[in-house]
């Protein structure tokens, strides 16, 4: 029991440390396979359309990931409170997708804000695939 807890703690702390987008994709791939046996890889195109598609929120507004992260993710975005968000595309901001805990925190928040539900591993992987593929 004690060992298992230690191992879990260790795994968790490794997760929270610096990672590469590829390492994050590997983790999401593992999860996606568990979520769906039909999983056949991540797609930048699917990620792009996920990023741009506006949904009708129950508060009456239309929102997408692009609302704050801008339609061209190489650009700086803006929050609702008027604060600059650094670009999401790794070509413009190499800091992105290098901290697993941070990435999970914001997927958790923003998916609920935009989709009114959690994102699944397929959607998260597609999203990252898209943002690291932009030249």
């Amino acid at each position: 029991m004690r060992n298992k807890t230690m191992l879990l703690a260790l795994l968790f702390s490794v997760n929270a440390l610096a990672a590469t987008p590829q390492e994050l994709l590997k983790q999401y791939e593992g999860q996606a396979k568990q979520e769906s046996p039909a999983f056949s890889g991540f797609s930048a195109e699917r990620g792009a359309s996920f990023f741009r598609t506006a949904r009708n929120h129950s508060n009456g507004q239309k929102v997408s990931c692009a609302t704050c992260h801008t339609a061209d993710p190489r650009n700086q975005g803006k929050t609702r409170a008027n604060k600059v968000i650094e670009p999401m595309a790794t070509i413009a901001n190499p800091q992105r997708f290098t901290d697993a805990a941070k990435v999970e925190k914001w997927f958790g928040r923003n998916c609920k804000d935009v989709l009114e539900r959690a994102c699944n591993a397929q959607e998260k992987g597609d999203y990252i695939q898209y943002l690291i593929s932009i030249k």
């Binding site: 409170a81 604060k83 928040r109």
Partner: protein, 170 residues
Amino acid sequence: MKSWMQFLVLITSITSTSALLASGGAEGGGSQMSPVTNAKWKAECSSCHMLYHPGLLPERSWGKMMGGLDKHFGENASLDPATRDEITRFLVTNSADKSDNRRSSRINQSIPANAAPLRISETRYFTSKHDEISPVTFKRKSIGSAANCIACHQGAEKGNFSESQVKIPR
């Protein structure tokens, strides 16, 4: 004394006097809020907007806000329990009703005892200090809303709202 030693003594006394002066203004009982800080608060509460100084709202407001971060002004700002609790403690310790600077006391006095407002920008203290600014000004692209204190008060995140540091952007 050698002249370089005299120089050193002079410099040391100047720096210590100015340090004293600076701390005199920041310490309890002064007119401005103390420039308090906490690493988690700085990291977690500044990604969507400027950092709001804890001395701007009373303990009950911070408690209510931190208990409902999943529905924070229409957005999900939730945190893991350990981080949330650390930030709550920091906010409460330095809240308007726990600080003895003049500014925080006045803010606190302007809030009815049975109210726990979540917006500083809706307290009576705030509205009385900004009654000459039109709603159109707050909506300027360079400002956004009354909540964006730092657009006009450069020292806002440190709790400095002194008149000499106010500039309304075009």
